[in-house]
């Protein structure tokens, strides 16, 4: 059953003011196009959850979409500070809820697995545990020692970018897989963006590669280059100069406004954005092929 729709329609239908949104992707496959569409549609009071907020949440916070952020590392990866999120937190204008990477991903794992909590061994560093009441302790009934536990995170909607999927949403990912699967299973609704929509026979030729089954997916959107300025393994490179440029842009509200006006509000969709980036940038991000060795499933 086809779930194909436009990204604009998917955001309209599944992202509402006040929702908890998980735009997935640990350093890879970050669905920037979806973040931009949420900004264009003017969503407010969102709770933005991600291990690493990255530029996508910096931009959404700058555009006034968010009331709160749930995270485990706020930085401009490989560059430095994530200025806008940091400044809004320092100014007391943005609520935050903070974890280590492991406890953040454990919350998603509990959410995906349908568990009321999930345990982790102690780390001996207790300040974050004291600062965030979501952390609790449970006594291991075997040893009598305490473990740290976190509750499930079940976002209202997960947005997951994938390399390829079929029209039903059976999706395949390779390269860094981060928390894509957990986010999809934990969320109440799932929006997929895909570099390619392929015939289901392509997916079914390699079922072990499928990370997300279509039946938990609500909307399938064909959005090539969705992840720019982050990257999609095998499709295009990370646009590192833009990560450096954002460090400058985000220094002043004027530059941020100019950026959003030109690159978010000023374009209709990702295709227009990608064309607007220009031939030189597009060329620079191209990658030469490196193909996987096939495997044989056999006809049974």
């Amino acid at each position: 059953m086809t779930k194909l729709t436009t990204l604009s329609e998917a955001i309209r239908q599944y992202v509402h003011d006040g929702d908890c949104v998980f735009a997935a992707g640990f350093t890879h496959l970050i669905p920037f196009a979806a973040g931009h569409e949420i900004i264009r549609q003017g969503r407010k009071n969102l709770v933005l959850a991600r291990a690493t907020p990255d530029l996508i949440y910096d931009q959404m916070v700058a555009a006034g979409c968010a009331r709160k952020i749930i995270f485990s590392y706020i930085g401009n990866p490989g560059v430095g500070s994530l200025r806008i999120v940091r400044q809004e937190i320092e100014a007391g204008r943005l609520e935050w809820e903070e974890y280590s990477h492991f406890s953040m991903i454990s919350r998603l794992q509990a959410g995906a697995a349908g568990l009321p909590f999930i345990p982790m061994n102690q780390t001996a560093a207790t300040d974050l545990e004291k600062a965030n009441p979501q952390y609790k302790r449970v006594v291991d009934p075997y040893s009598g020692r305490e473990v740290i536990v976190v509750p499930p995170l079940n976002p209202d909607v997960a947005i997951v970018h994938v390399q390829r999927c079929d029209a039903s949403g059976n999706a395949q990912i390779w390269g860094i897989i981060g928390e894509q699967k957990e986010a999809a299973f934990a969320a109440r609704h799932v929006i997929l963006t895909a570099e390619e929509i392929v015939d289901e026979e392509v997916i079914r030729s390699d079922p072990n590669r499928t990370v997300i089954p279509g039946f938990i997916v609500d909307a399938v959107c064909h959005v090539p280059y969705c992840a720019h300025p982050s990257y999609t393994q095998g499709y295009y490179d990370r646009d590192n100069p833009f990560y450096l440029a954002w460090d400058k842009i985000s220094e002043t509200p004027e530059a941020v406004k100019a950026y959003l006006d030109e690159w978010v509000y000023g374009v209709k969709d990702r295709e227009e954005y990608w064309q607007k980036l220009g031939e030189e940038t597009r060329k620079r991000l191209e990658v030469a092929p490196r193909i996987s060795s096939p495997v044989n499933y056999g006809q049974y």
Binding site: Y73, I74, P77, Q122, L128, I176, D237
Partner: protein, 251 residues
Amino acid sequence: MNYSASELMTINSARLLRDHDVVFVGVGLPNLACNLAQRTHAPNLLMIYEAGVIGARPARLPLSIGDPTLVSGAAAVCSMYEIFTLYLQRGNVDVGFLGGAQIDQFGNINVTVIGDYNHPKVRLPGSGGSMEIAAWANRCYIITPHQLRRFPARVDFHTSAGFLDGGDARAKTGVRGAGPQAVVTNLGILKPDANGELVLAALHPGCSFEQAQANTGWALKQAETMEVTPAPAEEDLRILREELDPQRIYI
């Protein structure tokens, strides 16, 4: 011979690695140190990246922890939950590298906040993987410039555990890893004494105890046997400059 502070720290960090070590690598200097060690005395070093990449063979200098060059040609990729459970929590990681805005007398690290947590003066990035790396890797190494503001007597916030208040405080928590084993700075190397206090164990050529003390926020002790680190070898510098970071992004 001329070399930068970054080169000096990288080369001294590489020396701490042993052949067959499984290392949780960060980008920047730790990545350079691991690649250098692998090309010199530790050819069987196994590099694991937080993003879930095992046995990476980066063809270019990775610019972020999730650089695609880490994946192409790697031995394995796993999910984030798996890297923290099957690899780190399970005890499969020998060495973790850490950095920090503040490192205190007992090797505790703060990368969370300067000032009060709820009303931050400076909001830092936060734990990321460091809370668990510091706890569960068998050995941890910290690479950081030696500056007074980075070495307070006590951190504002315990993002990750060193030896807590010293003595057997860390051991009593039952945490599996042995904690920070060395802090490599541009002046020398600090190591924990029997009480878990960081003491000066080595100086780099031309550096003095007085320099180190002036940049440390507690009364710095010297280890019983103080060493002077060998100057960086020409071959090490060549590998760093020509092979690993030819554009001099980190060094």
